[in-house]
C-alpha cells in the first residue's frame, strides 16, 4: 500500500475546512474537526516513512529545459516528518485554544487554517516554487489576524511583521533563483532533491557560494528573527491573538530553519563555512542581546516573544556546528521550541482572557487563584529554560556537544544564554505565581481552566514535550539518515 494520497490529503483537509467555513459551516467546530482529522493522514504518512523510508507524491522529473518548470510535488522524509508532526499538533491545539466567542469568527478561523496550511505546504513541498509560495500563503492571514484581532499596538505590529517578512522572503527568493541558476543549464531543476544531487555533482564555485549563502542567510535569517533582523518578532507575537502567536512562533518560524537545513547547509557548504563567523556574531546577538532584552520585559507576552526569538540563536549554533549531533540537537530544539512556545502563548492567551492583562505585576498569586493554568505556565517556562526531561533540554545539550569542537566560545556564550533565559523566566514565574495579588485585581474572580475542553490543548503540548524530552529518538531516529546526508560532501 503506497498511501501517497495522504500527502495531498494533509493539505486538502484544511482547504476543505476553509471552503466549508466560507460557505457557512460553524467556524470553530469545523476548524477543530478538520485539524483533528488531519492527524489521520499525518499518522498514516508517518507510518509509511518509518517503515519504508521516504514517501513521495507526484511524478519524477521530466521537465528539464522548460521555460518555467514548476511541478506540484510533495514528499515526506525523516526530517520533514518532525516538522509536519509539529505543525499538525500545534494547529490542533491552537484551534482548541482559540476563543469560542470571537468577533467575525468566520474570517478568524479561515485565517488560522490558512496559516497552518502554509506551514504544512512548505514542509511538504519538494518543488522550490511551492516551498516558497506556501510559506507566503501564511503572510496575509497573519497580517489580518494581528490587525483585526490583535492587542496593544496591533497596527504597527502587523505592518512591521508583514513588511519584514516580505523583505526576508524576497531576499530569500533571489537566493533561491541564484541556487537554481548555479546548476548547469541542462540539469536545472526546481525540485530540491534533484537540485541537491546536481549541485553535489557540480559544486558551485567558492566565491559564488559565499554570496548565495549570504543571501540565504539573510532571507531565512529574517524569517527566523536572527539579530539584526529580529525586530518584527517580539512585538508581533505580543500583539497577535494567542492561536496566531502559537502558529507563528511554533510553526512558521521553523520554515526558515528548515530551509537552512534543506538548502543552505547541503548546497552551499563552503559558503556556509566562510560565513560562520558572521553567523556566530548574529547568533551571539540573539542569545545575549535578546536575552538581556527579555530580562527587561514587564509584560508576559513580550517576555515570551523575546525568549522565543532568543532561542533561535541556540538553534543556529547547532546548524553551524558541523556535526550530526549538532544538527540533531537543532532539530530537536526546533520541535521542542515549537511546542513550548505554543504552550507559552496559549497560557498567556488564557491569562489575558481571564484577567484582561498580561503585565506580570498584575498577575501575582496566580498559583493559588488558578492552579491548573499556573501548572501549564510552569511547564512552558521550564521547557523554555531547558529543564531536563523536557524536549528543549535534549536539544540544547546535543547542540552544545555538537558545536563544542568547532565553536567552543559560542558554546560558552550559549551557556550564558541559558542563564539569562533562566533568570528572566524564573523571575517572571516567581512574580506570577507567588507575588502578592494586586489590590485593584483582588476582587476580580479568576476562573481556572475548566474541564477537559479547556485543558486538552495544553495537556497535549505538555505530553509531547515530555515524551520527546524523555525519548528524543522519536525525532532523531527517523531524521538521522537525512541529517547525515546533509553533512556528506
Amino acid at each position: 500500500m503506497s498511501l501517497t494520497w495522504t500527502l495531498p490529503a494533509l493539505l486538502g483537509l484544511p482547504l476543505i475546512g476553509v471552503l466549508a467555513i466560507s460557505l457557512g459551516a460553524a467556524p470553530r467546530r469545523t476548524a477543530s474537526v478538520v485539524s483533528f482529522l488531519n492527524l489521520i493522514p499525518g499518522f498514516l504518512a508517518f507510518g509509511v516513512v518509518l517503515r519504508e523510508g521516504d514517501l513521495l507524491f507526484g511524478g519524477e522529473a521530466s521537465f528539464i529545459r522548460e521555460v518555467f518548470p514548476v511541478q506540484f510535488r510533495l514528499g515526506l522524509d525523516g526530517l520533514s516528518m518532525a516538522l509536519v508532526g509539529l505543525t499538525l499538533v500545534v494547529t490542533l491545539s491552537a484551534m482548541g485554544v482559540a476563543q469560542a466567542q470571537v468577533k467575525r469568527a468566520k474570517e478568524y478561523y479561515i485565517c488560522l487554517l490558512l496559516v497552518g496550511l502554509g506551514g504544512l505546504g512548505a514542509f511538504l513541498s519538494l518543488d522550490l516554487f511551492y516551498f516558497f509560495s506556501f510559506h507566503e500563503v501564511a503572510l496575509i492571514p497573519s497580517f489580518l489576524l494581528i490587525g483585526i484581532w490583535g492587542q496593544g499596538d496591533r497596527t504597527g505590529a502587523a505592518w512591521r511583521m508583514t513588511l519584514y517578512l516580505m523583505l526576508g522572503s524576497l531576499v530569500l527568493l533571489v537566493g533561491l533563483i541564484g541556487l537554481v541558476w548555479a546548476a548547469p543549464e541542462t540539469a536545472r531543476s526546481l525540485d530540491w532533491r534533484i537540485l541537491g544531487e546536481t549541485l553535489r555533482a557540480n559544486p558551485i564555485p567558492g566565491a559564488q557560494q559565499t554570496w548565495l549563502a549570504a543571501l540565504l542567510l539573510v532571507g531565512f535569517g529574517t524569517l527566523v528573527s536572527l539579530v539584526p533582523f529580529h525586530s518584527w518578532a517580539p512585538g508581533g507575537y505580543a500583539s497577535a491573538p494567542a492561536p496566531a502567536a502559537m502558529l507563528h512562533a511554533g510553526v512558521l518560524k521553523k520554515f526558515g530553519l528548515y530551509g537552512l537545513l534543506r538548502l543552505a547547509l547541503p548546497l552551499t557548504p563552503m559558503g556556509w563555512k566562510e560565513l560562520s563567523w558572521l553567523v556566530g556574531l548574529m547568533l551571539a546577538g540573539n542569545i545575549l542581546y535578546l536575552g538581556l532584552a527579555a530580562l527587561a520585559q514587564r509584560d508576559f507576552r513580550w517576555l515570551l516573544g523575546f525568549s522565543s526569538a532568543m532561542h533561535m540563536g541556540t538553534i543556529f549554533l547547532g546548524l553551524i556546528g558541523g556535526t550530526v549531533l549538532g544538527l540533531g540537537g537543532a532539530l530537536l530544539l526546533m520541535v521542542g521550541h515549537g511546542l513550548s512556545a505554543a504552550l507559552g502563548f496559549a497560557v498567556a492567551g488564557e491569562i489575558g482572557n481571564r484577567l484582561g492583562t498580561t503585565w506580570m505585576q498584575d498577575l501575582g498569586g496566580l498559583a493559588k487563584r488558578a492552579p491548573k493554568l499556573w501548572f501549564y505556565l510552569m511547564i512552558a517556562g521550564m521547557a523554555s529554560i531547558g529543564l531536563p526531561g523536557l524536549a528543549n533540554f535534549s536539544g540544547e545539550i546535543l547542540i552544545f556537544f555538537g558545536a563544542w569542537s568547532a565553536h567552543p566560545v559560542l558554546v560558552g556564550i550559549a551557556a550564558w544564554g541559558v542563564v539569562l533565559s533562566s533568570v528572566a523566566m524564573l523571575r517572571a514565574i516567581r512574580s506570577i505565581s507567588t507575588g502578592p495579588v494586586p489590590a485593584n485585581l483582588a476582587a476580580k474572580e479568576v476562573t481556572d481552566l475548566m474541564g477537559a475542553k479547556e485543558v486538552w490543548p495544553m495537556a497535549l503540548l505538555t505530553f509531547l514535550l515530555l515524551a520527546i524530552g524523555l525519548v528524543p529518538n522519536l525525532i532523531l531516529g527517523p531524521a538521522r539518515p537525512v541529517l547525515e546526508r546533509i553533512l556528506q560532501p
Binding site: 466560507s22 522548460e66 521555460v67 518555467f68 514548476v70 506540484f72 468577533k103 467575525r104 468566520k106 474570517e107 516554487f129 511551492y130 516558497f132 509560495s133 506556501f134 507566503e136 500563503v137 503572510l139 496575509i140 497580517f143 489580518l144 490587525g147 483585526i148 505592518w159 508583514t162 513588511l163 516580505m166 523583505l167 524576497l170 531576499v171 527568493l173 533571489v174 533563483i177 541564484g178 541558476w181
Partner: protein
C-alpha cells in the same frame, strides 16, 4: 478574400455600425445598443481567438504581419474592449446621455488601432495605428463635458499625447534619414553587423522617448495620475491596461525582434532602459504610498508595473521579452477586475476614494475576497499569478547579471506590498461593518471578481497556460513573408 474577416475590420465596422444605428434609429428604440455592443465585442473576442495566427489580408502584408506576438495580443486587446464596454455601459451620464451610443461605440476604434499596432512591422504603419488609438482616446477622456476633471484629463492627454507623437515622428524621420527605410526587416538587414551611426542612435532614442510616454515610464509619466483620475473610468481602464500594453508590445517588437534588435543598439540602450526601469519602479512605488484615490493609486501602481516590465525588457534578451508578454497578461487579469469594481464603486459612492472600501470585508465578503486576491496578485505575492510575473522579472535580471535592477526590484516589491495592503486593510480592519451603510454591489460584479480572484490563484499555482502563451508569442511570423525581397 481570405483574411478580410479579421478583428481589425470587424471592430471598425462594428463601431461604425453602432454609431449609424444610433443616428438612424428612432428615439426610444435605442435601448438595445449597449447590449448589442457587448455582444459584438464578445463575438469579436471569439472570432479573434478562433482566427489567431491567421495571416492578414494579402494586400496589407507590406505593412502588417501576423506572428506569435500579434496573435497573442489581439485577443488581449479585444478582451480589454469587452471590459471597457461593460464599464461604459455602467457609466452614469448627465448631459451626455443622448450620445451614449457614441460613448459605447468609440472604444471599438482604438481597439482596432491597437490590433493593427501589434501586427505592424513598419514605422509608418505604427504611426498611423497609434494615431487611430490616440485620437479616439482624446475624445474618450474628455467625453464627460460637464465634469471639469474629465475635460482636464482630455486636455492633458491631448498635450502629452501630442508631445509623444512629436518625438515619435521626429524619430521616424531621423530613422529614415539614417537607415533609408522605415521597415523593420530592411533596417535590420541594413544595420546588422556594423557600428550604428550617431543619427541612427539618435532616432532610436527619440522613438524610445515617444513610446516611454505611452507606457508612462519615468520621467515621462507625469500625465498618467491626473488623466487616470479625471477621465471616465472606462477610459482609465483603456489607458491603464490596453494602451500601456500596446506600448510594451511595440517595445518588445522593435527592440526584441524588429528594427532595433541589434547589438550596436543594445550597447547604448540597454543601460538606458535599465535606468529608466529602475527610476520607474522606484518612483511609481514610492509615489503610490500616500495615494487614497483608487484611480490615482492604480496609475502609480501601473507606473511601478511598467518599471518592472522595463527592467525585464532592458535586458534585451529573449527571456526578457517573454517576461514582458507574461507580465502584461498577468497585469490585465489583475488590474482590469479592479477597474470594473471602481466603476461600480463610483456609481454607489460617487468617488473612488479608498475609504469607501471600509467594512467591505463584512458587507460583501465575496467582492472583498476577489479584490484582495487581485491586489495581492499585483503586489506579487505567491501563490498568485502576479508572483509568477515578478519571479520571472527577477529571474531574468539575475540571469542577465543586472544586480542594481535586481536589488531595486526586490526592495520596491517590499515597499509595494505596503501600498497594496492599504485597500486590503481598509476592507478588513479599518472599521466594523455596522459603521458603514450597507450598499450592495450588482451580482455580475461579484462573479467577475470571484472569477478573477480564482484565476489569480489557479494560474498562480499552475502557470503553464501563461507559459504556453509566452512561448507562442515568441514564435516567428506565420505567413510566407513575401515582402522581404
Amino acid at each position: 478574400m481570405s483574411g478580410w474577416f479579421c478583428p481589425e475590420v470587424c471592430l471598425v465596422f462594428s463601431g461604425v455600425g453602432l454609431i449609424l444605428a444610433d443616428s438612424l434609429l428612432p428615439e426610444g428604440k435605442k435601448g438595445w445598443i449597449p447590449g448589442v455592443a457587448l455582444g459584438l465585442s464578445f463575438a469579436i473576442l471569439v472570432l479573434t481567438l478562433g482566427q489567431s495566427g491567421q495571416p492578414m489580408p494579402s494586400s496589407w502584408q507590406n505593412l502588417f504581419l501576423t506572428d506569435g506576438l500579434s496573435s497573442v495580443f489581439k485577443p488581449f486587446f479585444v478582451l480589454c474592449l469587452l471590459g471597457v464596454t461593460l464599464i461604459s455601459i455602467r457609466t452614469p451620464m448627465e448631459r451626455e446621455e443622448r450620445v451614449r451610443a457614441e460613448w459605447i461605440a468609440l472604444p471599438f476604434f482604438p481597439t482596432a488601432g491597437l490590433c493593427l499596432l501589434v501586427s505592424a512591422h513598419d514605422f509608418l504603419a505604427i504611426f498611423v495605428a497609434l494615431e487611430l488609438v490616440a485620437i479616439s482616446l482624446y475624445l474618450l477622456a474628455a467625453f464627460q463635458r460637464t465634469r471639469a476633471t474629465s475635460l482636464e484629463a482630455g486636455m492633458k492627454l491631448l498635450v502629452m499625447g501630442g508631445l509623444s507623437t512629436g518625438f515619435l515622428v521626429m524619430g521616424i524621420a531621423w530613422l529614415y534619414a539614417a537607415a533609408g527605410s522605415t521597415e523593420f526587416s530592411k533596417i535590420l538587414v541594413e544595420q546588422a553587423g556594423r557600428p550604428a551611426s550617431l543619427p541612427f542612435l539618435f532616432a532610436v532614442g527619440l522613438i524610445l522617448t515617444g513610446l516611454a510616454f505611452k507606457v508612462a515610464a519615468v520621467p515621462f509619466h507625469a500625465w498618467a495620475p491626473d488623466v487616470y483620475e479625471g477621465a471616465p473610468t472606462s477610459t482609465t481602464a483603456f489607458l491603464a491596461v490596453a494602451s500601456k500594453a500596446a506600448g510594451f508590445v511595440l517595445l518588445v517588437r522593435i527592440f526584441g525582434f524588429g528594427a532595433f534588435a541589434l547589438d550596436s543598439v543594445a550597447v547604448v540602450y540597454r543601460p538606458v532602459m535599465l535606468t529608466l526601469g529602475i527610476a520607474t519602479v522606484t518612483l511609481g512605488t514610492l509615489a503610490a504610498l500616500p495615494q487614497r484615490n483608487l484611480k490615482r493609486y492604480l496609475a502609480y501602481s501601473g507606473i511601478a508595473h511598467a518599471g518592472y516590465m522595463l527592467l525585464a525588457l532592458g535586458t534585451l534578451g529573449e527571456a526578457g521579452m517573454g517576461t514582458v508578454v507574461g507580465y502584461l497578461w498577468a497585469y490585465l487579469l489583475s488590474a482590469f477586475p479592479v477597474l470594473i469594481f471602481i466603476q461600480e464603486m463610483e456609481r454607489i459612492h460617487g468617488s473612488a476614494d479608498v475609504r469607501h472600501l471600509e467594512g467591505l470585508g463584512q458587507k460583501d465578503p465575496a467582492v472583498a475576497v476577489g479584490l484582495t486576491l487581485c491586489f495581492l496578485s499585483m503586489a506579487g505575492l505567491p501563490p498568485l499569478l502576479g508572483f509568477a510575473a515578478k519571479l520571472s522579472v527577477l529571474t531574468t535580471l539575475w540571469s542577465a547579471g543586472e544586480i542594481p535592477g535586481l536589488v531595486v526590484g526586490v526592495v520596491m516589491a517590499v515597499v509595494g506590498l505596503g501600498f497594496y495592503l492599504v485597500p486590503v486593510r481598509a476592507m478588513y480592519w479599518e472599521r466594523e461593518a455596522d459603521a458603514v451603510p450597507a450598499k450592495r454591489f450588482p451580482s455580475f460584479l461579484v462573479w467577475i471578481l470571484l472569477g478573477a480572484g480564482l484565476a489569480q490563484l489557479v494560474l498562480g499555482l499552475q502557470p503553464r497556460p501563461l507559459v504556453r502563451l509566452v512561448e507562442r508569442s515568441l514564435a516567428p511570423a506565420t505567413t510566407a513573408v513575401s515582402n522581404e525581397k
